[in-house]
Structure formats: C-alpha cells, structure tokens
C-alpha cells in the first residue's frame, strides 16, 4: 500500500460504499462471531472455560490442536519451499507439469485427500495392506499431518514462488562475485531473504490446519482437536453453549496467528531495495544438488497423482482393492438420489455467491488502495476475517445468530435465515457464508492489481469531472477486470469446496455436495464418495477453465494475483 493517496474529501459514492461494506461485513461475520462469544458465556460454556486448566481432556484437546497446527505448518512449508525452489532455480523437463500438479490440491474438496489416503494406506488399504502387508497407524495424528500438509502446501508454494521470483538476481551475483559458493549463497543470502515468506507461509498453514474440520472427522480417529470437539458438542451433545465455548477457544489462536502473519507478510518489502532487477538467476547445474531436489519434487507429484487416480478410478470400481471390477453403480447410486438435488442447489448457491463475493472484494480493494488513508489497514483486516475466522467457528456463529428471527420490539428485523424452517430452506445463510468466505480471494487479487495501476488515472478521471462511481465503473473496474475474473475463479472454487461452516447450517431442503461426500465417506461408502468428489472437481475445473478462457479472450493485461488460502 505504498501508493500515495491524497487527503481529498470523500464523495457520496465512496461514503456509501464504505458504509455498505462495513454493514455487510458486520452482518456476515462480525455479528455471528460476537454471538458466539455471547453464547459461550452461558453456564455450559463457562464450564468449558473454567475447566481449561483443570480438565486434562480439554487441555489435551488444546494441546493436540496447537501441535497439529505446528506440524502441518512445518511440513507443508517445507514441501512448498522445496517445490518452489525447484520451480524457480532448477532447469528441467516437465517444469510446467510439476507446477500444475503442485496447485491441484487447491481446487479439490479437502477431504478427497483424506478418503483416498484411507483407501490407499489405511487399515485395509491397497498399498499398506495388500502390497506391503502392514497395518499402519494412520488414523489420528500421522494421518492428519500427511493429509493436511498435502492439502495445504500449495498455499506455501505459491507464496514462496512469488517471493523467490521477486528476488533481484544481481544480489545472488554480487555474492557470487565476492567468492561465495552456490551453497554459501543459499545459506547466507537466499534463505535469510525468504524468511518473511517462510514465516508467513508457516502461519497461514497453521491457521488452515487448526481450522479444518472435515479431515479430523474423516481421519482424525481419537485425536481430538478443538474443531471436532465443537462439532461433537453441537451435533452429538446438543450443547450449543459448550460448542460456542470451544469455538471461542479456537478463534483466539486463529485470529492471533492471522494478525502476526499479516505483520510478517508486510515485512517482505525489505526484499527489493532499489533499482531494477537485471537478468535471471543462473539455474542450478550441479547434478549433486539437482538430483535429490528433483527426486523429491517428482515424488510429491507422484503422490498427488496417485491420490487423484484413486479418487477418479475409485468412482468406477466396485470396491477399490477388494473387488476391482469396473462398475457404473456408484454414479447410478448418486444420481438416483443424493447427488441431483445437492448438485443443483450447491451450484446455484455458489453461482449466486461468487459474483457477489467478487464484486465485494473489488470494492474493498478499491477503497483500501485508492480511497482510505487511515483505516485502510482496518478495512483490509475486516475483509480478511472471512479467511481468518475458522469455518467451524463461522458455522456455529451462524447457527447461533440466524436460527431465530431477529426481533426488536416485536417487529422482525431479520427473519430466520438458517436451520430447519428458515426462509428458502436456509439457503440465504449458506450463500452468506459462501460470500464472506470467498470475498477475501477477490479482495487480494484486486489489491494486487490496483497496486500496479498508477493512481493518477483515478485522479485524471476525477479532474475531468467524473463522479466517484463513474471513476470506479469506467476506469478502475475495467483495469482490474483480469484480476476480478481471477478472483471469481477462486471464489467459486472456494464456495464449492467449503464444508466446515456448512455442516452447522445445512438443512434437508438445501443439501450441499460437500456435506453429502462427508456423509458417504463417513459411512464407508467410498465409491459414491469418490464419484461425488470427481463430479465436484470436474465442475470446479470447468468453471475455472471458462473464466480463464474469458480472461484471455479479452486480452486483458496479465496480473499477478496473490492467492490467499485457495
């Protein structure tokens, strides 16, 4: 946010926009979060808080959560770092393929991984049991770390690739001309310069790991974490206040780490000091260094390919590993009932929420970069809450807030939006969740795009007499169209694959695809679960393909988009 903003007075459009986005964000996320805090102060909730220090079970759950976050942060960042390093610094065949494979986990339902890992490496897994004759202890901590690291390392990968590319090659050359060997340069120059990126990746993965609910449910076994504990409190023990209390405990580290992460990622401005970068960094040529890196990179790729092959093939095979005969039964089964409605309602709701999220993200980006001086950071933070607040917490917040109509003095202000008996079968609450969870992606790409556009364009428009809204529509928006569409792409993918908040507010009238996958997988019907996963991936990829084609077709400038948590 280094671009200068002039302290001009806000015009009507800007004022309205600020009030509107703040109001929308308050309704969509601030109020639900505050409701949780309020709900957690009820008796069963305070019991949870009181026993945090005395009750070893709760203490264990907290410890498990933090330890899982640290482990996933460490391994995910490590894998992301190595793959990014290979991508930027090593010359080899198939670079593009490795890049795409490293991004694949971003667009799949998070628990597709967990289910496939169980089928391949579980107690009666094809590889673990049938090929190696072992029954590994997959459920619990080891399985969670493997699955979560594999699902979220692309976030670290993208983050670090961007950062490595932005390093001035002359800095490496300077070290080299001062006599430093390749390894010494890596140790004393490259690595220290990447520390902000490494730290921020670690923290992002930490938040993702502790916020995840689907994987602990599928593969967590007895390893209880706060998100699964909150889920059990609400869906098993019907104790909303206790669930709210566990959510509050989860919210605290998530928000804290998110704030620290923001601080770290802003420190990366230290990377480029001055001048324009010259040339490219000489790729690593030494075979001794290249071979282990490439072996590692392709192993990760092979693992990802194997997982997705299991998902795709698993959908066409009776029981993968047990009865390997081709069948269309799984597809017949899902289309005979569970998939049709879920498919329709999920796609419709995601399609409505996506443009809303994209538009909101763009307006936020425009206000943050171009309009606000003081308060820009605060607004940016508010907009990013959709990512910072764990889905579990958000879902419980919605259940607490919108399961009853909001009445002031006997007059209904907001009708019941979530739960059984809500208007439109609770669809409104789900679309609200989709919107607030996806708009940060739009906001980030919008900010990245606007930062590259000269602010004097806006000023030129204003000096020619255009109003704030005209400037936004005719100048800013067309210039960030590419980023807008990219933002949409990720917003859609994120909506379609969202699970944790949905589990708390979905109703029988509005079935959700991800929820159905979890249900199938939970009851051991892996074939139908795989068929649904494949269906979901196909839909997401097609929509991404269409949007991507639209971006290129318009010949818009290619913008670097910062991706945040897929």
């Amino acid at each position: 946010m280094a671009l200068k903003k002039h302290g001009a007075k806000f015009d009507i459009f800007t004022k309205v926009a600020i009030v509107a986005v703040v109001a929308i964000i308050s309704l969509l996320i601030v109020v639900p979060v505050l409701s949780i805090l309020f709900e957690s102060t009820k008796p069963t909730g305070t019991n949870v808080f009181k026993s945090v220090f005395s009750n070893p079970v709760i203490r264990g759950t907290i410890k498990n959560t933090v330890w899982l976050g640290i482990s996933v942060g460490f391994f995910g960042t490590l894998v992301g770092f190595i793959l990014a390093y290979i991508q930027v610094r090593v010359e080899f065949r198939g670079k593009k393929i490795l890049h795409i494979l490293a991004l694949v986990p971003l667009v799949s339902p998070p628990f597709a991984f967990a289910t496939a890992v169980i089928v391949l490496f579980g107690r009666s897994g094809i590889i673990s049991h049938d090929l190696l004759g072992k029954t590994p202890m997959l459920y619990g901590y080891p399985g969670l770390v493997i699955v979560l690291s594999a699902s979220y390392f692309p976030v670290a990968y993208l983050n670090l690739v961007g950062m490595m590319r932005s390093l001035d090659p002359a800095i490496d050359e300077a070290a080299s001309s001062l006599g430093a060997s390749k390894f010494r340069i890596f140790r004393t120059v490259t690595l220290p310069l990447l520390i902000p990126g490494i730290t921020s990746s670690f923290l992002l993965l930490f938040v993702e790991a502790i916020a995840d609910l689907a994987n602990p449910l599928v593969i967590g076994g007895d390893y209880m974490v706060l998100s699964s504990r909150a889920y059990i409190a609400i869906n098993g023990e019907y104790d909303v206040s206790a669930g709210a209390a566990y959510s509050a405990l989860l919210l605290l580290p998530a928000l804290l780490v998110f704030i620290v992460q923001r601080y770290w990622s802003q420190k990366k401005s230290v990377v480029s000091v001055t001048g324009k970068p010259s040339g490219q960094i000489a790729p690593i040529k030494s075979k001794v260094a290249k071979a282990p890196l490439l072996i590692f990179g392709w192993s990760v790729a092979a693992f990802i390919v194997m997982i997705y092959l299991a998902v795709i093939l698993g959908a066409f095979i009776k029981i993968l590993g047990v009865n390997n005969t081709f069948t269309l039964d799984h597809y017949r089964y899902i289309f005979s009932g569970i998939a049709n409605d879920a498919l329709k309602s999920t796609v419709i709701m995601a399609s409505i929420a996506t443009p809303l999220a994209g538009f909101m993200g763009m307006v936020m980006a425009w206000l943050i970069i171009r309009k606000l001086k003081r308060g820009a950071d605060a607004l940016d933070f508010l907009g990013m809450l959709g990512i910072a607040v764990p889905g579990t917490v958000l879902g419980i917040g919605y259940a607490v807030t919108f399961n009853e109509p909001l009445k002031i003095g006997g007059i209904t202000i907001i009708p019941q939006l979530a739960g059984g008996g809500a208007i439109l079968g609770g669809a409104i609450a789900i679309m609200m969740v989709y919107t607030i969870r996806s708009s940060p992606a739009g906001q980030r790409s919008g900010i990245a795009a606007l930062q590259q556009i000269d602010p004097s364009l806006d000023e030129a428009s204003a000096s020619l007499g255009a109003s704030g809204s005209r400037t936004f529509r005719k100048v800013s928006l067309p210039l960030i169209k590419g980023a807008f569409l990219t933002g949409l792409m990720f917003a859609f993918a994120r909506s379609m694959t969202t699970l944790s908040p949905v589990l708390f507010i979905a109703t029988p009238e509005t079935p959700i695809l991800t929820q159905k996958i979890l249900a199938e997988s939970d009851s051991g019907r892996y074939g139908p679960a795989f068929a649904l996963c494949t269906l979901l991936i196909v839909i997401v990829l097609s929509v991404m393909g269409i949007i991507n084609a639209a971006v290129r077709g318009r010949g818009s400038t290619e913008f670097k988009t910062t991706l945040v948590a897929g």
Binding site: E173, L178, V270, V273, G275
Partner: protein, 362 residues
C-alpha cells in the same frame, strides 16, 4: 610486473537456439593493460553488458577465451575469479548492515576477525561511510548505497573491478560527483577497471580508453580524445557528441593522416582517417568549432546561410543555420548580446581547417 592484465580473444556470445540465434557479441578482441580504466560504450542492446557479464563469469562465451594475467579463466565460475563487480541495482544484501555487506567477501576468504575488522574500518573511512556502518541498506540514499557497493567490491582486493552502469540510478549532480570519486579511487589503487555505460559524458570523463560498440561489434577503440576528435565512422561521430557533416566534392591527395579536400567551394588541408577516400567520405565539424558571424572571418574556411533558430543558454548560444549543405548546428561561447544574430538574418559560419576531420561514411 603489475597484475590485472585482461585479454579477450575472439569472444562470441549467442543467445537462443536453432533459427532464432541472436549474436550479442561478435568476435571481440581486446587487451586491457594492468591498471587501465576501459569503458564499453554503446546504445542498449549493443553487447556491452553481455561482454562484462562474460568477463565476470555470469555468462559463458559461445566461443573465444578470456585470459587474466595469461591464464585462461573462461571455464571458472564467478566465485573463482578474482574480480569485483558493482551492479546497476547495487545489489546490496538487504538483510545485512553496511558493515556486514562489506565484510561478506572477506568472510568468504576466511580471513581472521582482526583482519576483517581492520579492512572494513579502513574502507569505510576511505569512502566516508564511517558513521553508516550499522545502517541497513534501505536506510541509505542512492549515493550512499552506491558507495557501499563500491566498497564491498574493492575491499576483497580484486584484480579487476567491473562496473555495470553503476551510476544510472543516480540524479545528474550525484552522478558527476560519483564518477569523479570512482575515477580517483581507481587511480589511487591502480586496479584494472571495466565500466559499462550508455552515457557518453560518463565514458569521456572517467576512461583511459573507450570501446564503442554497436550491434555486437566493436566500432572503435581509443582514448577519449581519439574517439571525439578522430572517430572512424559516422556512427561513432554521431554517438559521441554532436556533429555536422559537410559534403566533400573532391579529395585530391591524402597522406600522413591528412588530405586536401574540396568543400564549400574551397580546397584546403584537413586531418583525415586512413580509410577516407574520394566518394565515400564526409567532413566532420563539431558545433563548437564553428563560429557564426555576420561577416566571414578571414583565414578560416567559411560558408553562408540563413539563421533558422537561436537558443540562448547563457554561457553559450546555439544556432541552426540553413545552408546549401543542409542544416548546420553551431555553438558560440560567451556571446555578447550585440553579437547574437536574429532568426532570418544572413549569416556566415567559419571554422579552422585543422579542427575538421575527414572520415569514411561507414
């Protein structure tokens, strides 16, 4: 014998593959003597930076070799060559202080802490950076960063110092100051230096010799005086300074670096390039060699024309004169107001025959 003699033999660099090969440097031969300051000068894309990067080791020559004090260094990686480089972007390590930046190369050499301390202190003092030792690079001004970059490259006592357009990110005033500083340090230490720039003023003011390059090929190698006063082609004459080219109708005889030429209807003797022959030559006259007046000046070669533009700069006046030879640019120093001609006035332009230079067109 002093060390730091650099020899470039048949150096060629090609980029790209198959049909798309682009030759960036084409058979470059050059010997740079120990302690010499040589500048590669040319428009962007002429191959000057590529040549420098081959000397440093960041690019591998397609063919040819690079010899340092008689030893072939072509196959050595940059860290094995005793050369220091100053980058256009300075390339200071942003995560290290000024002192840490400067001691980096010394630590690589595994010198004792006392020795490192001493050398860093010395170089900081000699570059007037003493009070900045603990600053981070992004807390320094452009000129200070430039000095740190130079100190960092010098402190390891390289045999050759390489400069890749090091002054292009500074403002005009600082640029002048820094180039004087670089030149005086270089002369004091006597380190062989190679400097790359596209700025002719920079090249003229710091170099012992200038290598003018164009489209991968060396056009001329010479001292600043040679290059300015005796360019070997229209390109070099035009690239260094400003030029007027007069048509030459006849060259009657040429020998010993001079020729009898007929131009502006007169025949006179001028210094000449060996390759200047009748039919392919032009007469170069620099604007500052030409005097513009109302009457022709006796004893000088002169022609006539009409004043087209007059620009008053204070210390000099610049005229454009429309003549039968095309437009002629002339500058007159220290003009008194009464002597300044007006637009539309008839004018004579005159120059001394020995200030002209006969050169081949290409």
């Amino acid at each position: 014998m002093k060390s730091g003699r650099l020899e470039l033999k048949g150096l060629v660099k090609e980029f790209g593959k198959g049909q798309e090969v682009v030759r960036a440097v084409d058979h470059l031969d050059l010997v740079i003597e120990p302690g010499e300051f040589v500048t590669f000068l040319g428009p962007s894309g002429c191959g000057k930076t590529t040549t420098l990067r081959m000397i440093a080791g960041f690019e591998t020559p397609t063919s040819g070799s690079i010899l340092l004090d008689g030893k072939d260094v072509s196959s050595l990686t940059p860290d094995k060559r005793p050369m220091g480089m100053v980058f256009q972007s300075y390339a200071l390590f942003p995560h290290m202080t000024v002192a840490e930046n400067i001691s980096y190369g010394l630590k690589v050499q595994k010198l004792s802490n006392d020795e490192i301390q001493k050398r860093v202190t010395d170089v900081l003092a000699s570059m007037s950076l003493d009070n900045l030792a603990n600053r981070a690079p992004n807390q320094l001004s452009g000129g200070q960063q430039q000095r740190v970059a130079l100190a960092r490259a010098m402190v390891v006592q390289p045999k050759v110092l390489l400069f890749d357009e090091p002054l292009s990110n500074l403002d005009a005033k600082l640029r002048g100051q820094m180039r004087a500083e670089i030149r005086s340090i270089q002369q004091r230490l006597g380190i062989t230096s190679i400097f790359v720039t596209h700025d002719q003023d920079e090249a003229m003011s710091v170099s012992d010799r200038i290598v003018v390059m164009r489209n991968a090929i060396v056009q001329q190698v010479g001292t600043p005086t040679d290059i300015y006063r005796a360019p070997n082609s229209v390109f070099v004459a035009d690239f260094i300074g400003r030029s007027n080219f007069l048509k030459v109708t006849d060259i009657s005889s040429s020998a010993n670096g001079s020729a009898d030429v007929t131009s502006l209807g007169k025949t006179f003797t001028v210094p000449a390039h060996v390759d200047a022959k009748a039919g392919n030559s032009l007469l170069l006259v620099r604007p500052e060699s030409i005097t513009v007046s109302r009457q022709p000046i006796a004893g000088k070669i002169s022609g006539e024309g009409v004043v087209k533009t007059v620009i008053y700069y204070g210390e000099h006046v610049e005229y454009t004169i429309d003549t039968a030879n095309g437009e002629i640019v002339a500058t007159t120093s220290d003009p008194s107001p009464a002597e300044i001609l007006a637009v539309g006035e008839k004018a004579s332009f005159s120059f001394e025959a020995n200030r002209a230079w006969l050169l081949p067109k290409a």
